[in-house]
């Protein structure tokens, strides 16, 4: 009886340690959320302060330059246009 009891003690101890190690390993290799960094916040704040895209130009219409394309064209104040992606 004592032998069985001792064996059970060892068994539970080993299984507990192994389970802990396996769980640790799984968590260590799982995907982690990217916490917004300070830089992210700073940049978002800067973006929020920018004027909305509609404010750039007012349909200055460069279109009448000798061809048939007369759709209004706007000019961005930025070197890089303000592009947004969010699904459609």
């Amino acid at each position: 009886m004592k032998i069985i009891k001792t064996a059970l003690h060892y068994w539970f101890a080993i299984v507990s340690v192994l389970s802990f190690l396996v769980g640790w390993g799984m968590l260590a290799h799982s995907l982690k959320p990217i916490q917004p960094t300070q830089a992210t916040r700073v940049n978002s704040a800067l973006l929020a302060a920018l004027p909305p895209i509609q404010a750039f130009g007012s349909g200055s219409g460069i279109g009448g330059s000798g061809n048939n394309f007369s759709a209004p064209m706007n000019q961005s104040n930025f070197g890089s246009p303000f592009l947004r992606s969010g699904g459609s």
Binding site: L31, P33, S76, P81, L83, S85, S88
Partner: protein, 311 residues
């Protein structure tokens, strides 16, 4: 940087280019014409489109145009790479859940009818589509119908950007968030792309800086409608035939091609964190991704962060 906006493919399209204004106007005209012609070819909402003709031909060989053949060849490649999570043959399921007309029309109606009697049934696998490259023939299994919505939009945006680049030193075509970027604007080292908050699209969650490449976002919060009492969205999980139940609300992918970014964004969104790990392990060198969950937490891998330079 000059910009030009119009509506096509049931979404807002933005063309942006820098260079000589007269040349840019010509480029905008050519790009817009290309986009509108391609929409006519790939739309499932037009009975006259080549895609609708192909769908009607299911069971018989169909002589396809080089453009349609190219997109379906790409679709089959991505079907295998995404372990079937990207599957254009879910059109019957899309119709069953109420997406049977363009989103512009769907948004105007109160609620789509709920076809309780139409259950998701067995259908042939997209891998059974037979492509004869030499003759440009496509054979769909009987009863199969394709929706090339996302991949075609990405492909069209990229082709249009390449066309526009012949008239400009740096340009971008953004079709509802699927964009292709060519060259770099003067004085810039990268393109800045704002990522929308999927719960409040008018707000930007963050900004990524990317090299000239393709960027696309899939979201379950955009194309939504009511079918009876049920809330539906357009991303069908091919494993169930129903709108996907996802842990993430949106996924943005950066890849060499816009159609590639669009496909992987959709597959990662449908598959969620577990499948994404598998797809990333298999094809991770092809793309980087950024996912947003219901708590607005941003997910991705560390190498994604380094690549896309979230600031």
């Amino acid at each position: 940087m000059e910009t030009h906006r119009f509506r096509a493919m049931n979404t807002d399209v933005l063309l942006a280019a820098q260079g000589i204004p007269a040349r840019i106007v010509e480029g905008f005209e050519k790009a817009q014409q290309f986009i509108q012609a391609s929409e006519g070819r790939f739309s499932r909402f037009s009975e006259q489109s080549e895609l609708s003709e192909l769908n009607r031909s299911a069971g018989s060989p169909f002589q396809a145009s080089p453009d349609l053949f190219a997109v379906i060849t790409l679709a089959q490649r991505f079907f295998h790479q995404t372990r079937g999570l990207f599957d254009p043959s879910i059109l019957q399921d899309l119709r069953r859940v109420g997406y049977d007309r363009s989103m512009d029309l769907l948004r105007k109606q109160v609620a789509a009818p709920l076809f309780e009697s139409l259950l998701a049934g067995e259908r042939a696998s997209f891998s059974e589509v037979d492509l004869d490259e030499r003759r440009g023939m496509i054979l769909l299994p009987p009863g199969m119908a394709l929706d090339l919505g996302g991949i075609a939009k990405g492909w069209i945006a990229e082709q249009a950007a390449n066309l526009l680049s012949e008239f400009s030193s740096a340009c971008a075509v953004n079709a509802g968030g699927d964009m292709f970027l060519v060259g770099l604007p003067d004085g810039e080292e990268q393109w800045a792309v704002a990522i929308e908050d999927p719960l409040q699209p008018e707000i930007d969650l963050t900004t990524i800086k990317v090299d000239p490449s393709g960027v696309a976002t899939s979201a379950v919060t955009k194309r939504v409608w009511k079918q009876g009492e049920k809330q539906r969205h357009h991303l069908i999980d091919p494993r169930t035939g129903e709108p996907a139940l996802t842990d993430w609300l949106s996924v943005t992918v950066i890849a060499a091609h816009t159609y590639e970014a669009e496909v992987f964004a959709k597959a990662l969104l449908i598959g969620g964190p577990q499948e994404s790990e598998e797809i990333t392990r298999k094809c991770g060198s092809q793309f980087s991704y950024l996912a947003v969950d219901r708590d607005r937490k941003i997910w991705g891998t560390q190498d994604t962060l380094e690549y896309i330079h979230v600031h």
